[in-house]
Amino acid sequence: MIVLEKRPQPSQAWSLATPIVAVLATMFFGGLLFAALGKNPVESIMTIFWEPLFGEFSFYYRPQLLVKGAPLVLIAIGLSLGFKAGIWNIGAEGQYIMGAIVGAGVGLAFYPLEAWYIFPLMVIGGALGGWAWAMIPAFLKVRFGTNEILVSLMLVYVAEQMLASVSLGLLKNPEGFGFPGSRNFQSYASAYNAELIEGSGMHWGVVAALIAVIFAYVLLNRHMLGFHIRLTGEAPRAARFAGVNPARLILFCLGLAGALAGLAGLFEVSGPSGQITIDFNVGYGFTAIIVAFLGRLHPVGILLAGSLMALTYIGGEIAQSELGLPAAAIQVFQGMLLFFLLAFDLLTNYRLRLALKEVA
């Protein structure tokens, strides 16, 4: 039989090879799925992975990858720090919403004033909104020992109701003929998170995501706090002996994750999305959890994982429209990709060994 043997340390080679193997496996099994649905498997796979990057219209899709991937990366970076320390914030979706609401609220409060300081204030508002929302589970955990998984998840639903409320009430566009939704920031220059270079997809959210990646990398590898985070996750008791203050760490990790998620929400609402609406949130907060794990909680890994997710979203849409694949098939395909990535990760930490009957 085959037994697993833990490697003394994770294999460098496999950690690079597994994502490729996983993508190949997904292509194979996804191809079978598409064939079963009566589509040409090779064409389908090509459409999903090739078209957005190198196809005829890649000049449009490549920037879109940044637009789609940036919020995922930004949120996932924040989450990954907490996850490393064993702090389970799964409510980033709520923090994303609250960041967008507060940031948009700040901007709309100034309307129609045009001034250079409006957008920076909105950015601060967005970060604070997400931060404050994440501080609720953080505070409850520190003060009462309440489980943060549940509180942060519950607050997502509360935030969604808040979103509906402000779309229909407080932030509703007074010139919108009674329809729900706020003014569109795309036509409010001082508050608009425009592309920095037109056609590049680069907006401030993308910049923030890249900065976050670098920041997290430096923090984890060069800074005492990063060491404390890793230590707390791997050996909580040892961390305590090393003088880590767990309460402070919880407040920091949750607060930072909340602030980054809030920023992602603000950059989205003031840029690509443009307005607060009832259905403003599209699940970035949850997808980012997957991205964080696919990236193995490593900043660079997250950057790659976020890009890969964005690629399957965009490629999937193209495949739907060009080949008539149902959205559900794309969802299954994405599910497969995640499964394989997670499963093959085994090879990084373990060795497969053929063994004869084990001696008990």
Binding site: N184, G199, G274, I314, S321, A328
Partner: protein, 357 residues
């Protein structure tokens, strides 16, 4: 090079490339907010798409993307369709309004049709249906048939579209039954069958024997069937599987005639930007078969009302009508203008409760 120019060049190059090969094929794109299997809103739009295919056969190619979130994702899907050579794109949710306008700017040669919005452009039309006409018929039947004088109404979100429906149904129920009372429950969701079922049950438990719904699932129908002696109306699609009881009639969104007409217009080059708000007369709103559970005289009156709306002799919002606070709205014989109707944010006199804000 600017993206806009790039896109335009690409579109043009593509137009030329395809011109030689398959000039006669018109490509029509559809962007859906839900899955085609939602059995309601998107399902009916997709039936419209299928009708376009059936009508023009080889002359058209239709493409669609389902479950597209409003916002940047929808903008990308529209751009992708336009790049891919679509000549006409239908965007079928209110939240696609600004994205549609944005994409339309980049592709002046492509025609866009946005459902339920109000922003137009030289290459963007808007279209919507006067569902409130159907609500009038429902209100009439409801007012006649209720024995408890309590009509339950399941709303999605308090937006003009839904409020208009409530008012229209109430006015016509009240007309034939002065004692009628409406109980309104806001589900605060477009889609949550379990919640819709709960809402229907609650209304029935509180004495309603007619359930009107402005949410798309058949959950309320099933709840009414369980309760027995409660009537309902199909919403968006016919829901005929619940006929003859509890479903006694329905409002059907029939987009097919419009989609076919607009596709035809693109084919023969007569397409122009228009603002369409069609009702029973044009066939965009259909009244599903009124079942035998409805007494013959009531059915006759309902059909007469439908006919009067179809030939334009009757408008569901005809004065004298007051607003909920008692202030005057429409004088005797006056009919509501489309602007007020489009942004309706008040109840008519007699309705209880407040519109949540």
């Amino acid at each position: 090079m600017k993206l806009t120019t790039l896109l335009a060049t690409a579109a043009m190059a593509l137009g030329m490339a395809t011109a030689g090969v398959a000039q006669d094929k018109t490509k029509v794109g559809f962007v859906y907010v839900g899955p085609v299997g939602d059995g309601g809103w998107t399902y009916e739009h997709d039936k419209g798409r299928q009708a376009v295919e059936a009508e023009f056969g080889d002359q058209v190619e239709t493409v669609f993307v389902e479950s597209v979130p409003e916002g940047p994702d929808s903008e990308r899907v529209m751009t992708q369709m336009a790049l891919d050579g679509a000549d006409l794109i239908f965007t079928t949710s209110f939240g696609y309004m600004d994205p549609t306008i944005n994409v339309a700017k980049k592709f002046p040669k492509v025609k866009f049709e946005h459902a339920t919005g109000y922003k137009t452009a030289p290459n963007v039309s808007v279209y919507s249906a006067r569902f409130y006409e159907g609500r009038a018929v429902q209100g009439h039947i409801a007012g006649k048939m209720t024995k408890s004088n309590v009509v339950g109404y399941i709303g999605s979100y308090p937006i003009p579209e839904v409020i208009r429906g409530i008012n229209s149904a109430y006015i016509h129920a009240k007309k034939v039954n002065p004692d009628v009372e409406f109980k309104i429950v806001w589900a605060y969701t477009w889609f949550d069958p379990a919640k819709e079922a709960d809402a229907a049950k609650v209304l029935i438990e509180q004495g309603a024997d007619v359930i009107l719904q402005h949410t798309d699932s058949t959950a309320p129908q099933a709840a009414a069937q369980d309760a027995g002696n409660v009537i309902t109306f199909g919403q968006a699609s016919d829901m005929s599987e619940y006929a003859p009881m509890p479903r006694v009639s329905s409002i059907i969104d029939n987009w097919a005639p419009y989609y076919i007409a607009r596709t035809k217009a693109v084919m023969d080059g007569s397409w122009e930007s228009v603002n369409t708000w069609d009702g029973i007369a044009q066939g965009m709103v259909e009244i599903g078969e009124i079942s035998d559970a409805v007494p013959a005289d009531v059915k006759e009156e309902a059909l007469a009302m439908k006919a009067a709306m179809a030939d334009g002799s009757y408008h569901p919002f005809t004065g004298p009508l007051n607003k909920q606070d008692g202030s005057d709205w429409l004088a005797e014989g006056e009919t509501a203008d489309d602007g007020t109707l489009a942004g309706m944010n008040f109840y008519v006199e007699g309705l209880d409760g407040e519109i949540p804000q």
